[in-house]
């Protein structure tokens, strides 16, 4: 048996799980509820999104969340009966996470 290359995607999964656990709830509250409540207006949200710290925060949150979710969904579908499609699912989910991360990098860092 050969040693697995899974550590590459697992470390992204684990890092993404931690980042999402720490920062997703507050992000959802701020955008989804603080804005409707009037605590956060359109201009301030614009500033936050374009602030260097805000850009780094959003890039890390988006990219790692995508890898976290892609890894988990891959194994969930495998466990639900798509074991035969394991490689195809890996390509699909990690591919989508990579594209999403590149899109986020382009939107935030250029």
């Amino acid at each position: 048996m050969a040693r697995s290359n899974e550590p590459i995607v697992w470390s992204l999964f684990a890092a993404g799980g931690m980042v999402a656990a720490l920062f997703l709830p507050v992000t959802v509250v701020l955008i989804g509820f603080a804005v409707p409540l009037g605590w956060l207006d359109a201009e301030r949200l614009w500033e936050v999104v374009h602030h260097p710290l805000g850009r780094i925060f959003l890039f890390v949150l988006i990219a790692l969340s995508l890898f976290h979710a892609g890894h988990r969904l891959r194994f969930t579908l495998v466990d639900m009966g798509l074991r035969g499609a394991s490689h195809a699912l890996a390509g699909l989910f990690y591919g989508a996470a990579t594209l999403g991360s590149l899109l986020a990098a382009w939107l935030l860092l250029t």
Partner: protein, 131 residues
């Protein structure tokens, strides 16, 4: 030579035990995590399209955040995100076994430290944004 009897798992195996249903719910939080990452990408696309905070593309988008659809979406994502946070922290001491000399650090201390960090980080972000 007698034949062994094989009992295959049912297709919907994950519905058959309570802990497996909970497991599947935990795994499905990731669909909501992904959905929210996609939503954030949409927000950034709108910002790029608008080019200016006064543009109606941006103000219109921000107005949409108050719509019932947005509130329902954010409510669902928040519930699943909190479930993810809770399950993630409760699982953390499994991978992180700490010792003080011969005594293992109790799991609830490791879990508690994660929740404390989460609380602090959330407050910090909220304070920076709402300032």
């Amino acid at each position: 030579m007698a034949k062994d009897w094989i009992r295959p798992m049912p297709r919907a195996w994950w519905l058959t035990r309570r802990t497996w249903r909970v497991f599947m719910l935990r795994e499905l939080t990731s669909a909501f995590v992904a959905a929210y990452a996609a939503f954030l990408l949409l927000l950034l696309l709108r910002a790029r399209e608008a080019g200016d905070p006064a543009s109606t593309v941006w103000t219109g988008f921000v107005e949409c955040l108050s719509s019932p659809w947005s509130l329902a979406f954010h409510g669902a994502v928040l519930a699943m995100a909190l479930l993810h946070t809770a399950t993630w922290f409760v699982a953390a001491p499994k991978a992180l076994r700490l010792f003080r000399g011969e005594e293992p650090v109790p799991e609830r201390i490791v879990v508690g430290a994660h929740f404390a960090a989460w609380f602090g980080a959330s407050l910090l972000v909220a304070w920076l944004v709402l300032g």
